[in-house]
Assembly symmetry: D2
């Protein structure tokens, strides 16, 4: 007997840009919104009866209409607004997930209407709304960082396939993908995001690293120390290897100066740091 | 009180190519292998003590050494071999996850040593080995398919933001990403993969579609019908919209002939089809 | 004194899909069209006077309208049709360049309306039309090929920075990007493309290679030998290095069996093979 | 009679990172270097005789050795150093082209050894050295800018395929790819680059735009006005369309507030601004 298991559908990557004009000083919000709904959707799978299916085209329209009606503030607020709307107005929709990426722009000069894309990283959030409540995970990705010293890698396990030598000084570089779950919603999402981001950067810079795992734990812990509203941090840290080039063939020393930045393979360290009393995550990470 | 939650680490994207020479008739296996270990790793996170950490560099070496010692047959077998090795030889490693992508090559001419990359799609697998047993998920991604008729979308739910009109004839196009879990391991992984792939293609072609969800369910069901060893299928199907271009401004009809292939946004339909008596998935999908 | 130099403008990447219905047997043409115009465009640059500027939006509309009015046959014919139209109807447009990429689909089963993207490679063409005549360059890219033997690299120049050792047997792999210019237009573009593609593949397979440059020349020569209508071939061949992995640390031989497929850096070999009496290229390669 | 036409070869994308340690204050240079040589290379193409071919592996080694021996200052200086070396030491090499991309890092905190990738854009240069002299083109790409007002598009040419309506207020957004040729080499490449970059941004912000072509010309002119050492500027400006969303179906106005950021197709405006007395470009742009 074959049955339908977990399923969901939605509109992915609706690109919405809002320009707000306060006299000559404009403001730009630039988002990529993905809405995903689930609920009483057995019939559409089994017989193609679409009566429970709000079209993904309608979901896209709703993003644009809500941007106009409600404006776009913090992406977490906009995600919650959309998720509540779908659950609250569509009888068949039991659960809404809204994921948003935000691209940031900085002012180009002082005329108030010219901007340059900051490009450092992407701010992210995922909001879940269903009968069990509301959950928000915030985060960022594409934050590339490097320490040129204060990183060792020694005392590791080894077997017959181990050829790596120990090092007391290496480059440690990674591209941070971080997500954090909230125990309660902060008054100001932007301020919370800024603090968490700062904590990640500060912990990366300050940690004398014996392993990337140790750095990961330090980064997650620092976010929790700085942000009482956050109860869990998940980090995915590729170890972007920088190999010291052997220049001895050319009669040259290379004492931690010239490196080859490799693409693949790469180490990948993933981990979670959380408060012991963190509330149940529910579907927050889905 | 802050604690360490779920964590894992490994070497991602080790690119290994094996050439087997049977006289003049060579054979090529071209893989991208990612190994991920977890277990008693608290100390490395908390204090940077690496004594439980088998370096990711060693994991990479193991992939190459095993390719030589054992050869590469079906990727599922190679993934299991590696996963068992790590769990079986490293005391601190409780769980190994090995994910492999395979790129296929076809013969270029008849000389036996010239090949052309097939490129249609990527074959995938993920093997998990831990104290609870062994699990394998196989799959594929990048399989792009299109039906130019026999697809409707009507009778959907609507609200104040709905502007989409019903259609009785549209292009249905998607890029199939499919994974399937095994209730038991087949004798021949390659044969099983071939049958599952054929079932996906046949169901896509044969289904008169009232919704992409219906097509998804038909595709998953067909795999289960054809492959007794498979107990669960997960599909992620982006709806690659092809919009009929309005040519009326130019005095031209457009009766399902000229389409604009859009990039973003796109619908995204995800779902699971499984046997009612499927065994517990455990960590298979992680 | 500052002046305007060479300039051009157009609409890039108009994605058009045409479905032709011959009873139950449908046919799909899937193109990416980029149109580029130039001519008397000084004023728009200097003063913003757009009176000579046919909007890029109009160019896009023309692509769709022409797909309907004239159908899409060989991409070279469609490119010429569009280029002639812009030069012939817009007084300020002196030169039109139309570049087309074609993605091929194969039948999925036998129902006549289901297709699977072939994905092996992209077929390309660029047509130029101006007062000096019409020129067409055809080509392909993304054709990935590999020889597992019959490739040496020895007897090369060396200096104090040379550490590479000679080899009498290596993997030779590349991703072919090829373009070819026509001395005259063939009766059947599709047939000409098929022959040129076959010549590239055959020459790659048949050449015992002492260097990738030699293989390049053999490939270009073969196209010219097989296709009298073609007068010049340009090839760009990245040397996709496959390095033999040193397994001696593990007590294992590796006699041309296990390779690491590297990403970067890569060799890049570019060259032209042409008939001595090839007509002047004019703007064909721009 | 078939002959060899223009050809060149080299090592593409050698990734070199140099760390300089001034006490606790480290400095990072992060480059992607591509070297390309040409000269007396007929034999290698015709017969596979490699005696004139300096291996691309040696070119890679040279990049790393030179980074150590000479350090990396401005990328233009490093490119010239490498190009002169190859032409000056290899008898068969008549021409060297060295292209470099630079990725910039900013300090992360104040410890002197932690960095965060700036990511705004990539700085570029191409140096050519041969018997006719030395030429340097500098530039940047990936600089994404947007004006939210002061952009019109009216008075354009139209034909039967024109449906675009005129606008007096639109978003103007582009991703700047700019290259500039030097009439003479500046004393400080970094200062010259900074000034040219500033000129591009300032001209984009300051220009009340009647067309993207006009903005392009203003940007190029401004660079020439600010940088006497620069004699020619080439710009490639995709028109990243932001379409006002029609919200009237939902009873909502949209007066330049809510936009859909489209991917494809896009306008593409390319042009050159140069001094009337610019010296001959020779191979500078190849």
């Amino acid at each position: 007997m074959v049955v339908l298991g977990p399923n969901r559908y939605g509109k992915a990557e609706t690109r919405v840009v809002q320009v707000t004009r306060h006299g000559d000083a404009h403001r730009v919000k630039d988002l990529n919104v993905s809405t995903t709904l689930s609920g009483d959707m057995t019939e559409v799978h089994l017989s193609g009866d679409n009566s429970a299916v709000l079209p993904t085209d309608t979901q896209k329209n709703t993003v644009y209409a809500f941007a106009k009606k409600h404006g776009i503030g913090a992406i977490e607020d906009f995600a919650l607004l959309l998720a509540r709307h779908f659950v609250g107005t569509q009888p068949a929709v039991r659960h809404a997930r809204v994921a948003i990426e935000e691209y940031t722009w900085e002012r180009n000069g002082s005329n108030g209407h010219s901007f340059v894309r900051a490009g450092r990283e992407t701010r992210t959030c995922v909001a879940h709304v269903d009968g069990s409540g509301e959950r928000v995970v915030s985060g960022l990705r594409g934050l590339v960082v490097m320490n040129t010293t204060n990183s060792e890698f020694r005392g590791f396990a080894s077997d017959e396939y181990t050829t790596l030598t120990e090092t007391r000084d290496r480059i440690l570089a990674t591209e941070v993908a971080a997500s954090w779950r909230h125990a309660y919603f902060p008054t100001y999402w932007d301020k919370s995001h800024e603090t968490a981001r700062w904590a990640l950067l500060a912990a990366f810079a300050d940690t004398y690293s014996l392993s990337l795992q140790q750095t990961l734990y330090a980064m997650g812990s620092r976010v929790l120390a700085e942000c009482p509203e956050i109860c869990e941090v998940r980090l995915s840290l590729p170890n972007k290897h920088h190999f010291e080039v052997d220049l001895s063939h050319f009669g040259l020393d290379n004492d931690g100066e010239i490196f080859f930045a490799a693409d693949r393979p790469y180490g990948l360290i993933e981990g979670t740091v959380l408060r012991e009393d963190a509330p149940d995550a529910g579907p927050a990470w889905e």
